[in-house]
Symmetry: C2
Subunit: 522 residues, 2 copies
């Protein structure tokens, strides 16, 4: 690509052309096959809060004590230590202790909510406030489906999962590492992952965090799509920064954090907690540590660039004291989720947690009970950004094709829940009650006729036929039906339009970087 080409077909200019249509573009999108896509959830039902006002104040006071008296290690990052010293923290070696109020004060520059732009403006999401954004599973090295069983994931799987998430109306986000494409060298796979999100979806997506230069590459690719100025002025990437609990941030994550925050891109600061291992075994103790860790990470992002969008993240599970394995769908992490959401709201920042988490290896009843046991708290706690919302199996070691379909179906159920009640005259239905009267039925009444198409949420996975019909259809279980659904969806998948010039620029960038990067790292 020549300089001229790069200039005349810059991502920014193209984006403005495409976005120019505005309402027209959205109408066009709706009239295509994509009209069933749901925008992110704008909650219209109350929050559920388990922690009392006194409990929250206690946890906040305890977190301040932890930050002041114990402190947090910033490892392998001299610049971070210098920044904290300059900000007024007490730095001894890699240990940073924070005078009371310093961290909360720094977070004040963080936005209460922010928009992450998608390349299709109709898919942009607002993270924070009364909104919930569902994104698919993140991180598994394995995939599982009924055909192959469990095996290492490939870039083909990655593309398939991006396509399925693109087609799922209730997945508002394309996510990040929907599986690890282990057939591509670690040093290079971030390029293929970011490219796949851009090429096979038009929903917002996540950048790479496994090394600072991979974060730089993610931002560079976003610039090719959205244009330099747009990326400088807007959030187009949201990025997962795990604390190394307890009470440590390591150089790798700090490096990625700095790249993204300085580029004005969003970071989700997530303590990754298996309670009993990375935190104390109690809910209140775990919440104290999570608040301390997440607050410090978000404050550090503000040191990098005041106003940089941040999200208070929480990944909490407990471990089996028998096997040492993480367990999911249990009550204690649900309480942590509810409590952390409340703490985030008091800090005035968006909150990330939840998902369709399970320990089950297969998409069976265990997987479903456990996933529902985290999805319900996800909705009711008011999670703003939900990673792992669909496709998670085996404690995060496997991405499940069928599980993604089944979870996404449940997400659309929760989205319908979030709409709340209709108190209009039509909702009150007094005419219908009068028309039908005692001892008759509502099946044919005018009100039912007028409303039945939209009255009830419909599952695409559940079988609600009679026993005899179900038996004659082969007596299939939910996973078998989900298997047929994802296969049909992949067969019928059509990629969203992508400007050929952008595609070419992205491919050229990737080719150059793949030549520059070594095949192996370490």
């Amino acid at each position: 690509m020549t300089t001229d080409e790069a200039s005349t077909s810059s991502g920014e200019a193209r984006r403005h052309r495409r976005a120019g249509g505005g309402a027209d573009a959205r109408r066009a999108a709706r009239s295509s096959g994509r009209q069933t896509q749901l925008t992110y959830i704008k909650r219209n039902i109350p929050l559920y809060e388990v922690v009392s006002e006194e409990g929250l104040a206690l946890i906040e006071a305890n977190a301040e004590r932890v930050l002041e008296e114990i402190g947090i290690d910033f490892r392998d990052d001299a610049e971070a230590l210098a920044m904290w010293k300059a900000a007024g923290a007490d730095v001894k070696g890699e240990r940073v202790r924070f005078p009371k109020g310093l961290v909360r004060g720094l977070i004040k520059t963080a936005p209460r909510e922010f928009t992450q732009a998608a390349r299709n403006p109709a898919r942009s999401v607002v993270v924070g406030g009364g909104n919930t954004v569902f994104a698919p599973v993140y991180g598994p090295p394995f995939i599982r489906n009924l055909d192959d069983g469990r095996r290492y994931a490939t870039i083909e799987d990655f593309r398939n999962l991006v396509k399925l998430a693109y087609l799922a109306p209730s997945l508002h986000h394309s996510g990040g590492t929907v599986c690890e494409p282990v057939d591509i060298p670690v040093s290079k796979r971030h390029l293929d992952m970011v490219y796949s999100h851009i090429r096979y979806s038009d929903k917002p997506f996540m950048g790479s965090v496994t090394a600072p230069e991979r974060a730089e590459d993610s931002v560079a690719m976003a610039r090719l799509v959205f244009g330099d100025q747009f990326v400088d002025d807007n959030c187009v990437l949201i990025n997962l920064i795990n604390a190394n609990s307890p009470l440590v941030f390591d150089g790798t994550m700090l490096g990625a954090l700095k790249v993204y925050a300085r580029a004005g891109q969003a970071t989700v600061i997530s303590p990754f907690i298996l309670a009993g291992a990375m935190s104390a075994v109690t809910v209140v103790g775990t919440l104290t540590q999570i608040l301390a860790e997440a607050s410090v990470g978000m404050a550090f992002a503000q040191l990098c660039r005041p106003g940089a969008p941040v999200v208070f993240g929480t990944f909490a599970s407990s471990i089996s004291m028998q096997s040492g394995a993480p367990t999911f769908g249990t009550p204690e992490p649900a309480h942590v989720l509810f409590g952390a959401a409340q703490l985030a709201r008091r800090l005035g920042v968006p909150f990330r947690s939840g998902g369709g988490l399970c320990g089950s290896k297969i998409p069976d009843a265990q997987a479903a009970y456990e996933s529902a046991n985290t999805l319900w708290p996800t909705l009711l706690a008011g999670v703003n950004f939900c990673l792992h919302a669909a496709g998670w199996l085996e404690g995060g070691l496997a991405s499940g094709y069928e599980k993604l379909i089944m979870d996404a179906d449940q997400l659309s159920m929760l989205q319908r829940m979030s709409v709340g009640l209709d108190y209009s005259a039509n909702g009150q239905a007094l005419d219908a009650i009068a028309e039908v009267g005692p001892g008759s039925h509502f099946l044919g009444c005018a009100h039912t006729q007028a409303n039945f198409e939209t009255a009830f949420w419909r599952s695409i996975v559940a079988d609600n036929n009679s026993f005899e019909q179900w038996r004659d259809d082969g007596g299939k279980d939910a996973a078998t039906r989900a298997n047929a659904i994802w296969k049909r969806q992949l067969r019928e998948y059509e990629a969203p339009e992508l400007d050929p010039g952008i595609d070419e620029a992205l491919q050229a960038f990737m080719a150059r970087r793949k030549e520059e990067l070594p095949d192996s790292v370490g």
Copy 2:
């Protein structure tokens, strides 16, 4: 049994002897194999309420309009019509219309909460207030398990399900028709069902409602167990009275209602709603009808005997507009459940709804997602009495052995949820956070050692082993593990002690009644 025996070994006297120990008896029960039994839930977490104050007032006003302007049919029960006329209602034919305020005024004599006594006093439950009582599935003519598939249920199945519910710590109640024992004539099976609850469990149970004389038999058998005076003074039976929605009570249900209310026994007045068929397709319209129907039923119980314990019941599902079949685990009935719970609280009466409801024919992921989608609202709405909490399959057509085990496991999870957070010094765990510090782990710290046995809820069904271990153990799904659990439980089952004199009296009563009753009815 001679008259002398009956007098010296009367149920009442025996019951007082057994209950005499009080704390001693409870200690003895705990030190036996039954120490893992949980008492009913005494909620320590907040309620979740979806309907606004204005919404509730609107629904209440609309329900009053329905009662005044449309009214409710009382069919095949001249006595009921006369009672309503005497109470000030407008009776024309079988249609009863209620002046504003009449019904709500009558309900004022109903208790806010009441105790249902069990023959083992440690198992008595308080229905109402902040309490939740879980009872198993009610009504299916079929059973399903992995060995037999689906087949008609027998009295042997009935006994097995009673035994499994007895052994499940989180099932606080033995329930009623845990399955229909179709190998016994309809006219007689109520005797075997009530007897099985008494003989194979010591938890509270339900009486028969399928005919007034079967209700009389249920009370008579309770008298043999508890003694006449105790039954006159206490609730020992709770009984399911379905309204024949929309807006009808039929003679059969009214007959049973009158027997139980006059005997001072509890009635659960439950509109049975498949929205779209028995009610309007909207949540607010359905709530209006449910409030009207349940209120009238509860008021009628107060006409029979002021102060008779009543429960505001709600069974709500929606129908598939494709197949006409009921659907479960969907958002609209969840909203009905939340709203009806609020309406019941405003009326000042206990509330029944919820359960592990599903449309799935088998204990697969569909069954689990759907069940969880009603169990979560059950807990959070503040349901006081929950029928169908475990074992429900196929829209209530089949009782599942494996499903009962899996659901009961989930109930114990919800019971743990209900305990809420520990804000004590031990719960705060500041010492542990200080002891471990940054970059270490909590596995061996003193706080973890002191707490790990009770820190986290444990599933008895979930497999939390590594993938390799799970694979080497046979790669089983949750249903297969549940199958092994119920078989082991039935093998190891030991019946709770029952006074031989009571047993003899019950058997003599049943023998006499079986001679009196015809084999076929109708």
